[in-house]
């Protein structure tokens, strides 16, 4: 086995950095989509109108019950053909990652809305709170707090899963790592460096989230 030499990884830092920028871009926008559309979708999921709830279930099951790699590949190859659009790889990537995250976040929101004790609805009526005030000041804040840990887990998951778009040619961190490995014939150093970057960012983000979660527990 040849000697390990990590120096080149630093020397190619700009290359990995370019990849990391794309990865963070994908993660950020897929989370923006996931957090907002997931919430709106959850509203559909708890709607009293049954056909809307069916629609919700269909969406959730499609994204939960197929491999995300397949979702990405299908999206990259079929959407441009079906809709005759030519979007950049980054845009298609953040879109499909966002749609996937929407499904998982919607479930988190829905579960935490339904976890609120029915007696809170009764109490809101007994206090003469209208449905708007009840939703805004009683249900949503509690649901958001309940959902937080799962949303954070999903967000970190999206960061890692974004690596899959390297397979369809989006120049993210994973892609640049692969490139570096083939350019330098040093797969161990290249992939290890990439792994460390993913690891450090995930751990730091997880710790920050954990701190806020512990603070929230004060009023659980």
């Amino acid at each position: 086995m040849q000697d390990l030499d990590f120096y080149f990884a630093f020397a190619s830092g700009h290359q990995l950095l370019d990849g990391l920028k794309v990865t963070l871009y994908l993660t950020f926008w897929s989370n923006v989509i996931g957090l907002t559309c997931g919430f709106l979708l959850a509203m559909v999921g708890v709607s009293p109108i049954r056909p809307l709830r069916w629609l919700y279930t269909c969406y959730i099951e499609i994204f939960r019950c197929t491999p995300i790699l397949l979702q990405i590949v299908w999206f990259f190859f079929c959407v441009p053909i079906l809709f005759n659009v030519y979007w950049s790889g980054e845009f298609l990537g953040l879109l499909i990652l966002g749609l996937n995250l929407t499904a998982f976040n919607a479930e988190a929101y829905r579960a935490s809305i339904q976890a609120i004790p029915p007696a809170h609805h009764d109490a809101a009526i007994a206090l003469g709170l209208g449905s708007r005030v009840t939703a805004l000041h009683v249900i949503m804040p509690q649901a958001a707090l309940n959902a937080m840990p799962v949303l954070v887990t999903n967000a970190i998951g999206a960061f890692q899963q974004s690596a899959l778009v390297a397979l369809v040619g989006v120049a993210d961190l994973m892609y640049q790592g692969k490139l570096l490995s083939t350019q330098t014939y040093r797969p161990i150093e290249a992939y290890t460096s990439v792994a460390i970057i993913y690891l450090v960012i995930s751990v730091v983000f997880g710790q920050i989230a954990g701190f806020f979660e512990r603070r929230n527990e004060l009023y659980r």
């Binding site: 109490a123 007994a126 206090l127 709170l129 000041h137 009683v138 509690q142 004060l218």
Partner: protein
């Protein structure tokens, strides 16, 4: 007192769950004046909590009506698709529940001021002032800025009562408010309710605590099989119940203690 129109009037109330599968209240009528404190006792499934929930306007009923000061605010007649509820009238009634219903993401103070500020248009300063007064009166001042999970069960229920009082209810409903409490915490909540009773607040109470029932009630109602079996002043009710079903029940609960 006869000249006075009745304060609360429950008229031939029928209520079932599961689309008529389980009939819980079977044509119950009850009238109560504004000096009354009605304690409802009876076996589980006898309809006492359901009665209170119907008076609060939390339930769809099958038929009948409930009126406050002559105004029917919960009603449904044959052929109506659903229960008609007058929310304005309903908002003059307060209710406290068996399970804790303080909103956990709000402090005690925020729990108290939420409804007056958001639904009654009271200014925040006025609401806070009023909340301070109530907390002071009930010995809860130190807890104003705590979140509910820092309170004992007894304190939670007392705050819940104070929260209802923020809206100046004409009638208070207490649905087994001490049933979820540790025994040593029951008394502080009951004492608070007794204090309100002595100030002349009309109330309907569902409880399993016979000492408390006797202490607080002007009338005790025995509710079983969806109707009122007995309705008498507390002394008469406990000492000389007329109905055999009532006698058996009292016998059983008193012996069980």
């Amino acid at each position: 007192m006869n000249s006075q129109q009745s304060f609360i009037e429950v008229n031939n109330l029928q209520k079932s769950y599961g689309q008529g599968l389980v009939q819980v209240i079977k044509g119950l009528s009850l009238s109560m004046n504004n000096k009354d404190r009605v304690v409802v006792i009876g076996p589980s499934g006898g309809g006492k909590s359901t009665l209170l929930r119907c008076v609060m306007g939390l339930e769809q009923i099958d038929s009948g009506s409930v009126s406050l000061e002559g105004k029917p605010y919960v009603s449904r007649s044959a052929g109506d698709r659903q229960t008609t509820i007058d929310k304005t009238v309903r908002s003059s009634i307060g209710m406290v529940f068996q399970s804790y219903t303080l909103f956990p993401h709000l402090t005690v103070m925020q729990n108290l001021t939420l409804a007056p500020v958001k639904s009654r248009g009271v200014t925040k300063a006025v609401a806070i002032e009023r909340a301070r007064g109530l907390l002071e009166r009930f010995g809860l001042s130190a807890k104003a800025n705590e979140y509910p999970n820092r309170l004992s069960g007894g304190q939670k229920q007392r705050v819940a009562i104070a929260r209802a009082l923020m809206l100046d209810p004409k009638l208070m409903l207490f649905d087994e408010v001490t049933s979820a409490l540790d025994p040593e915490l029951v008394s502080e909540v009951e004492q608070m309710i007794i204090g309100l009773a002595e100030n002349g607040l009309p109330m309907m109470i569902v409880t399993h605590d016979m000492w408390f029932a006797r202490r607080v009630a002007t009338r005790v109602i025995f509710c079983a099989e969806g109707v009122i079996q007995e309705d008498a002043p507390p002394d008469e009710f406990f000492e000389n119940p007329k109905n055999k079903r009532t006698r058996d029940f009292i016998e059983n609960v008193l012996h069980a203690r």
